[in-house]
């Protein structure tokens, strides 16, 4: 009995190879579920925090306010994306097993790798979407602040000499360049690479553990150790064996560039490129490792 003999007209043989379409179907389904679980109420709350910041910092000088708002907003975005990456990914496989939906999917002509990748991509889509939502709020806060400052400035120069107006115009331009800082994008790119990496770590952990708590705690610990690797390298740089053991943990500290960008430092795109390369390389290998575990897992 050959395979073609059993194949119904709608079932041609080539579809049983790796299918990006199936991966995307699973990814979109994962995202749909997350969105319908109303995770976005969380972002609404974060948005309120952002807007509160803009009001709260009002008593400071322009330079102070801009630094505080940017530091805090980028900090909040970084923390929330990390949390979504860990919590969002940690429950993917356990909930599939618990609800037995994984049986119905893997009973279809779907490869395990497609399933795993689809789930991971769904998690990344959620990350992208939530990051976009937070960025819009962030931009809105900056814009509100900018408008307020320009209004204040224009009023204070009413009735002044033409030379003073030139001065005012220069200050307004400075405000606008500070607000429309394209450099901020670099910090967001690094953040996304970091969140992707920690999501892959979580995926790997969840392929061999069914405990949600374990799936959240272990990646979080990996993240903490990874953040401390830079510090550890400074303190115990000479202890090669120790550093070799630590090499298995990604150095998450390398992704923190938001502070420098907010200090007005020019971070070259080349540096960002290297950070992203580092994150992607680590992520790919971890996903492959996750596949190795998952392909042999008994469900």
């Amino acid at each position: 009995m050959t395979e073609s003999a059993i194949a119904a007209p709608s079932m041609s043989r080539e579809r049983v190879g790796f299918s990006a379409h199936r991966v995307s179907v699973i990814a979109v389904n994962t995202l749909t579920e997350a969105v319908r679980q109303k995770v976005f109420i969380l972002f609404l709350l974060i948005g309120l925090v952002f807007i509160a910041l803009a009001v709260f910092f009002a008593q400071f000088t322009f330079g102070e306010q801009m630094k505080f708002i940017k530091d805090t907003c980028l900090g909040v975005i970084s923390v929330i994306t990390t949390l979504i990456a860990i919590v969002g990914t940690a429950q993917l496989l356990p909930s599939e097993v618990e609800n037995r939906t994984i049986y119905t999917i893997l009973a279809k002509p779907v490869r395990r790798f497609e399933f795993l990748l689809g789930k991971f991509c769904g998690s990344l889509l959620l990350l992208l979407l939530s990051m976009a939502a937070m960025c819009i709020l962030f931009a809105a806060v900056l814009w509100i602040k900018e408008q307020g400052m320009i209004r204040e400035l224009s009023q204070s120069y009413v009735g002044e000499s033409p030379a003073a107006h030139v001065e005012a115009q220069k200050q307004i331009e400075q405000i606008q360049t500070e607000v429309l800082d394209v450099e901020l994008v670099k910090a967001l790119v690094a953040d996304l690479a970091k969140a992707t990496l920690i999501a892959s770590v979580t995926l790997l952990v969840s392929t061999f553990s069914t405990s949600l708590v374990f799936n959240v705690v272990v990646p979080f610990m990996v993240y903490v150790v990874g953040m401390l690797r830079g510090t550890a390298a400074e303190m115990w740089g000479a202890h090669r064996l120790f550093m070799a053991v630590l090499a298995v943990f990604p150095d998450f500290g390398l992704f923190s560039i938001a502070d420098e960008i907010n200090l007005g430092k020019v971070v070259p795109w080349g540096h960002i490129g290297q950070i992203v390369t580092y994150g992607v390389a680590r992520t790919l290998v971890i996903v492959v490792a996750a596949h190795l575990v998952f392909s042999r897992r008994e469900i």
Binding site: F68, K265, T277, V285, A289
Partner: protein, 263 residues
């Protein structure tokens, strides 16, 4: 299988070590990161902030300390504010704003606070304490310049401190040496192309107060010779200063930028 996974993970870890080290070196060269988390620093900022710091939120920790310091200022708790400013610049030595506003708090706010402190027994003591804070501010900017030597801002800040505060801190003010020092720093600030237009104007004024009227005149003339169509400047001020100095220095009419109309 588990062994294979562990090997794969360690493998990539080792394979990426060169890239990691390259990135770390690059970060150091670009002065990312700032102060290391030492025991003293942890003591200074407390445990919660130290954790936030290790989580990579250096900026937020520094901002928090700064805002807290602002609260101390409003409560006239100068020393606590000073301590917070010191920790903020330790955390983010690359922040021009922290150095600039930090010295302003010391020389202007804390200085005046110390001067007007009712606990001062004599006027001499009040003046002495104010001058101590001016000196602290000066030392503070020096450290700032060490960290950020390639920008005009802190040179200007130092020039302004000498011009406004240190010039009054001698037995017989105004002290011209302070203005000469101010001129030195403002000259540095002026040499940066991105320095705003008021920097060279203050430089010219400092030169004059230092006693070098000729140099002041030359600086105003240099400004006047800049392309009026592309450079934004307060040209009326420059013209006024040049006319004043040309009269004062009795520049021969044919050498003047603005010759006197022959009667």
């Amino acid at each position: 299988m588990k062994l294979l996974v562990v090997i794969v993970l360690f493998g990539i870890g080792f394979a990426l070590l060169p890239l990691e080290n390259a990135l770390r070196t690059e970060r150091l060269q670009m002065k990312y990161g700032g102060a290391h988390v030492t025991f003293q620093l942890r003591e200074a900022i407390g445990q919660n902030l130290a954790i936030a710091l290790l989580a990579g939120m250096r900026g937020i920790v520094a901002d928090f300390l700064w805002i807290q310091g602002h609260g101390f200022w409003e409560k006239r708790e100068w020393l606590r504010q000073y301590r917070n400013i010191e920790v903020a610049v330790t955390l983010q030595p690359q922040s021009i704003m922290f150095w600039d506003l930090g010295q302003w708090h010391m020389a202007w706010n804390i200085g005046y606070g110390a001067f007007s402190d009712p606990k001062n027994r004599t006027k001499a003591e009040a003046i002495k304490r104010e001058r101590e804070w001016h000196e602290k501010a000066r030392q503070f900017i020096l450290r700032g310049i060490e960290n950020i030597p390639n920008r005009y801002e802190l040179y200007f800040t130092m020039g302004w401190l000498y011009f406004e505060k240190l010039s009054k801190d001698c037995d017989d003010p105004p002290c011209s040496e302070a203005f000469c020092k101010s001129a030195d720093y403002l000259a540095m600030a002026t040499s940066y192309p991105d320095a705003p237009q008021f920097v060279p104007r203050l430089y010219a004024r400092a030169l004059e107060k230092c006693g070098d009227l000729k140099a002041a005149y030359e600086e105003w003339k240099r400004l006047w010779r800049l392309d009026h169509s592309t450079t934004e400047q307060a040209w009326s001020i420059i013209e006024r200063e040049i006319r004043r100095l040309e009269d004062y220095l009795q520049i021969p009419n044919q050498q003047r930028v603005f010759p006197q109309p022959t009667p």
